[in-house]
Amino acid sequence: MTAEPDPNRKNVLDEDTELVRAINAGDLQRFQELVQRYEQKLYTFGRRMCRDESGAEDLVQDTFLNVFRYLKDFRYETKFKNWLYRVAANTALKQRRRSKFAPEPELPLEDVLDREEAASPAEVPEWARIPLEQLLNEELLGILRQAIWSLPEKYRIVVILRDIEEFSTEDTAQILNLSPANVKVRLHRARLFLRDKLKGYFRHDV
């Protein structure tokens, strides 16, 4: 059964609208263009969501398969990119549920984020003072990537969308079907968790 079109519905036009309309009008060859446009971004998303390279590749592949399958159902009511990431997020959640080898890590996040402890530095630590370029190295990025992966999924996905993919709070809320207030709370907690991991790393290694 097909739903009646809502006469009050407004279409969202964005940089992908023309391409998506063309594909939906039958120009399937242009799907390749869509893949090229988002392959890099989705791969980055996949690498941060999944623990290993093959998980990320599966995520990108399955996301594009789902997009190909369901693009005709896209109703132009949101930015296409938000819809795409919603597909990717749902694909990631399904993948983890299927996997026997990648259970959701159980972290006592409440303990880590004890407010008294979290608000503790008495001065600006050196790692937050020196120029970023002096700080960056592969070991540090590896530690941070591991820390991102160790976040419980509902926090991890928010910090990836907001701080890595640079979606706005509103767009992230739309992608994840959460309220903007909920996105803000999860993001703050995820950032505090990551800051705590960085504090630990610099305490011991610098």
Binding site: Y43, R48, L65, A128, R191
Partner: protein, 85 residues
């Protein structure tokens, strides 16, 4: 906590809103309140700066280039589903 500010509870309350401050998602009155506080509270200023640095590092940790082999595999898959459709 080693906070030196006389009103510790106020620090904790502001601490919960630091991300909103960094993201520019506060109204003018809230923003001024935070700025007045961090101007005189070393502990909260330290929290703010380390949180900012964490966010900057996250951006650096994000991007990873798609392996060429995977990119080719993806193109082949897309060609296959296009031809099968």
């Amino acid at each position: 906590m080693t906070c030196s500010y006389p009103d510790h509870a106020h620090c904790l309350e502001l601490f919960d809103r630091l991300s909103e401050y960094i993201d520019g998602e506060m109204d003018e009155a809230q923003r001024r309140e935070i700025e007045a506080h961090i101007a005189q509270c070393v502990a909260c200023f330290g929290c703010l700066q380390s949180l900012r640095r964490t966010i900057a590092l996250c951006k650096q940790a994000g991007r990873q280039t798609v392996p060429a082999v995977f990119s080719e595999k993806l193109q082949t898959m897309i060609q296959y589903i296009q031809s099968a459709h």
